[in-house]
């Protein structure tokens, strides 16, 4: 076994893992506050990717600049769904599976509306740097993936500061700890839930824009990434942002190793195998409960 291939594999796995972490961050945040797994998460990613694609196609906007639009757009979309669809169901104290099923329904609607509007074709944006790489100590690194990784880490850092240092951030953490107590302390829990869902969606919208230069978009892409995000969230520990980061990097590296040494087609299976192992031996996740 050639050691340089192994290093190369791990490095590219880490780079992709940063993006996975960003996608899972939104899911874990929403789970932490509302205790529901958002099965429409991948579909929000798809909306972010299509936003980026159409901005590029119609006005030639650079994919990285489209983040400026995709973040507020997805924030708006997410808080709209939370306010008018999910919140009424949470307030009627419906059983948990109904809430999860509801998000699955939203996902199906989004995916099929996209199918009607944009056809099932695969689209991608081709920029001057899409295939650019640079060599660092004999390891070739994809330039867009490298930037994606840095921006993902940057966004995670901003989220950390937001949750830790601002009033809204601390009320989000309070609701995550105990919604009833937070309500008694005078926090408007409904509004916090709307903000949280919005932020969670905005994070995945940003991920959509970052993904576009290296990936392609089609209407049913969401299913795959909802599952990946869920696997990452469980790997790290449900509701923990650090966990999402650790889980994302783990899944990225695992898939990359699977693709290099087993088979390109079965790389998603290896992620699942790790997921099952974590469920058997450490169901609380690799990191478990954390402050952030």
């Amino acid at each position: 076994m050639d050691i340089s291939i192994l290093i190369q594999t791990i490095v590219s796995g880490i780079l992709v893992g940063g993006l996975y972490a960003l996608i899972a961050l939104g899911m874990t945040l929403i789970f932490g506050v509302m205790r529901i797994i958002n099965l429409a998460h991948g579909e929000f990613l798809m909306v972010g990717m299509y936003t980026c694609f159409w901005l590029f196609k119609l006005w030639g906007v650079d994919p990285y600049l489209s983040i400026i639009l995709s973040i507020p757009l997805l924030f708006f979309l997410g808080s709209l769904f939370q306010r008018y669809v999910i919140l009424p169901v949470i307030k009627s104290r419906a059983p948990g599976e109904n809430q999860i099923l509801l998000t699955a329904g939203i996902g199906l609607v989004l995916a099929n509306v996209a199918l009607l509007l944009f056809s099932p074709n695969y689209f991608t944006v081709l920029t001057s740097y899409s295939n650019a790489t640079f060599i660092f100590k004999k390891i070739s690194i994809s330039l867009p993936l490298f930037w994606d990784f840095l921006i993902s880490i940057g966004i995670t850092g901003i989220l950390y500061l937001f949750l830790m240092k601002t009033d809204v951030g601390s009320s989000i953490r309070a609701v995550a700890q105990n919604p009833d107590a937070a309500c008694l302390m005078g926090i408007n829990t409904d509004r916090v839930m709307i903000y949280t869902f919005g932020i969670g969606s905005a994070l995945v919208g940003a991920a959509g824009s970052l993904f576009m230069p290296v990936y392609y978009v089609f209407p049913s892409i969401g299913e795959l990434f909802t599952l990946k995000a869920f696997i990452v969230v469980v790997l790290g520990g449900m509701g923990s942002a650090i966990g999402a980061l650790v889980g994302g990097l783990t899944l990225g590296v695992a898939e990359s190793i699977g693709a290099t040494y087993i088979s390109m087609g079965l790389k998603d299976g290896l992620g699942f195998a790790i997921f099952v192992l974590v469920l058997i031996f450490k169901p609380s996740g690799l990191v478990g409960k954390t402050r952030f």
Partner: protein
Amino acid sequence: MRHLTSMIRKKKKGVLPIVILLVILIILPLVLKNQYILHLIILVMMWAALGISWNLLGGYTGQVSFGHAAFFGVGAYAACLLHTKLGVSLWAGFLFAGVAGALISIPIGAICLRLRGPYFALSVLALAEVLRLITLHWKSFTEGAVGILLIVPVMGEKVEYYYLILGLGIFIMLTIAYILKRRMGFYFIAIREDEDAAEALGIFTTRYKLFSLIVSAFFTGILGSFFANYTQFIDPYIVFSIGEVSIAMVLVVVLGGIGTFWGPVVGALIVVLLSEGFRSFFAQASILVYGALIIIVILFLPRGIVGSIKAKYHLYTVSKGE
């Protein structure tokens, strides 16, 4: 206990309509010559049977699964592969399909049913995805995306399939009704109502959840092989589909009424008719109807149709002072 006996007595009262329905269903193909309507009724019965199997686990035991396509697909593939590779009869294939579905459910259930929360519901979803990937990429064994064409299925005529699925459906319904009347059925409901209390009463909750899953997966597997025989063609995208199998099964039950015995039948009728009706409008995006229906049902009819009627009826009898 008195409540229970009155419940059973009420069941007795409801036998007549069931017998009439059964007689109509048995005579129907003799009178009805329209093949398309026959096809729709076959679909309704298949989905009703799938819904009932799902309901045992999701409705009565309280363990919602978003990935029953895993068992459905494994059943379909087990029957077809045994037939095409080893020459096993497709009739025996029904049994093997059920066994395959049950076998695949044991490890995932043993791992995930220990945990509470959404672990089980979503792990099964992931399992279905992985099984789809495996069937897609293990081309030498499963033919991959090409799929399997059954050149000689068990039967030729639509009418024969009609009676087959009618018989299968009745068998599944009776079995599940029987289980629900036994001690095990009460354990299932106890687990759904309060897992801690059930455990405190000495019920091995994980074990009984697993039993429920195995029975549910067994029937789902059988129905998977029925589907394969009926359509004569399967590929990984059809039988392991999240939207068209896993979510549709949940929709059938939730629409009809989760945890009600006749709910899945009503749900299947509506889902099949609606999706057929809208197929001409959104040729590509027929699943759109499923998604919209899920949102509408959960927002406005959280107990489902049969559940809501039951609640209304209960209020009515209470107000009359019975």
